[in-house]
Amino acid sequence: MANPNDATPQVRDNGRAPKSAKSTKSTGTQSKGVRQSMSDLHTWAGLLVGWLLYAMFLTGTVSYFKEEISQWMRPELAHQQQVPDPAAVSQRVATTLATLADGTTQWSVQLPTARSNLASAFWRTPPGSAQKGMFQEGVFDPATGHAVTARDTLGGEFFYRFHFQFYYMPVMWGRWLAGLCAMFMLVAIVSGVITHKKIFVDFFTFRWGKGQRSWLDAHNALSVFGLPFHLMITYTGLVTLMTMYMPWAGEVALKSAAQRQEVAAQLNAFIRPGKRQGVAAPLANVDRMVREAQARWGENNVLRVTVTNPGDASARVAVSRGEALRVSVSPQYLLFDGVSGKLLETHDHVGGAAETRGVLYALHMGRFGDLPARWLYFIVSLAGTAMVGTGLVMWTVKRRQKLPDPMRPYFGFRLVERLNIASIAGLSIAMTGYLWSNRLLPVALPHRADTEINAFFAIWAATLLYALVRPAKRAWIELLWLAAALLALLPVLNALTTQRPFWRSVAQGDFVFAGFDLMMWALAALHAALAWRTATHRPREKAAGKRATATLPQEEEA
């Protein structure tokens, strides 16, 4: 059944008997079955944005552990034994912000959780301030409420932001580009499912050492096993930014500002500052309000505290609910009068449409997940990354056999081949390089966080240059080995440059740092295995005539 050599080179209609006289007569490219068209669509939709998709997938995958990455990148902050009391932390940060963000019309602080040992805040730039931009942001030590004394870094947040808005370009452009890629991904998934004609029969099939056939089997397995996730993550990815991608319905339907505000209140707990009364009034203690929220939702289930017009009689305080085990990001918050501290409104449900979006959004972010759920997300998402990666590589594997002169491939082939090397092997090196730069750059360096990010892109660009000048196979092997070495040595670098080497983390029960080191070694092993397989791979030699007949039926299924 699976013998690719038994088919004639004629293009078949889904492998079944030809349906009409027309399709029997025409051979070659004239008449194509649905599967063949879908296969072409799948190939080109996947290839065109494949490199960006791979980067989005991988940075998105690691973002499921962005809090842990951020912890690792701020080694000065001690391992958090237990979650600090949200009420006390919010009051400490409120005190700091009263001076740091004096005159602001709004500040908001996200409280530490079991996974994050920081309180991170943003505030509107006070009117008349010398600072640029609409918002300022900062991270604060939960124990003191002061700005953290750790090294300046964006931490895991960088991977997260890159995942949907890239870098070195206006945020909105990046998000549009990400949306475009996600749309292509959706097309690739649907057309891929239609193209794959034996999802159930070939469910567990892997044919070892069969060149293109093996790549296809691997690509299919990675795609099919995680299909529910891949479909969900792509669709919900589009949903997270849907009001930006498709604003028109809202613009037409919502006439007044009040209506728009009402809809916004259904989507998130981001309250806007109201009109100032111009009467100075001190902000009431926020810890009492947070305690009220704790009584309602649980001790450590408070996500953030947002204050508008602090210091004015019109001040409002919103305390929003945490996301643990709640598969929805729909806003649930308590609104207090900021001066008297009286509870004004309780928002604990939204309309059906808003809730649907809240659930889809939450599914994408996975922030509700406990540890097992997060690992499942991470593993299946990693399979998705490999799905994109194998798809990209397969484009070249499939065409290499048919090159007229394998020594001198045409321009498009060389381009795809080199971009594959830089975007797959190169990205691993760049991401690891970002972590290396976190440990190697001087702690007091000005613009340190930006320098780390610039290092990431410089390293990535260097891998592209390297891929362009080396023979393709050598470039694959060398860059994969380099990635493996950098990953394997990162825990060593960490042991040399911080007070938190692996053995001490284990002894102290610090599973964030110990787990990070173990993960680096696991990923190093993965890269080493890939490098070793690539190095020992011997392409099969085939007679030219036999090859021509053998590749066609395979192509239909690709």
């Binding site: 892997f206 709640r326 598969v327 097992p372």
Partner: protein, 91 residues
């Protein structure tokens, strides 16, 4: 709870794989008769349904479906790897 779900899913997919002739050859070295093949298939599908019922009963629909989707994906991958390993060991 998630561990048990994963284990049951691995079992279910192993049954489903044994309900296919190609993998019977790879794992057992011989093809099973039609009755047993059908038996494995039914057992596999039943195990998948029962596991879903169990995890949704334990964790509710929202978290239950998330765990279930993750566990089925991972379990299929584990069974896939195991078949491949058996196949290589035999070859």
């Amino acid at each position: 709870m998630v561990g048990l779900t994963l284990g049951l899913c691995v079992m279910a997919f192993a049954f489903l794989a044994l309900g296919m002739e190609r993998h019977q050859q790879a794992v057992l070295g011989r093809a099973l008769d039609a009755g047993r093949t059908r038996g494995f298939r039914i057992a596999g599908w039943c195990a998948l349904v029962i596991t879903l019922r169990m995890i949704v009963g334990e964790a509710g629909w929202a978290m239950g479906l998330v765990y279930y989707a993750g566990c089925t994906s991972l379990a299929a991958g584990i069974v896939y790897g195991a078949i491949l390993w058996r196949q290589r060991a035999r070859a």
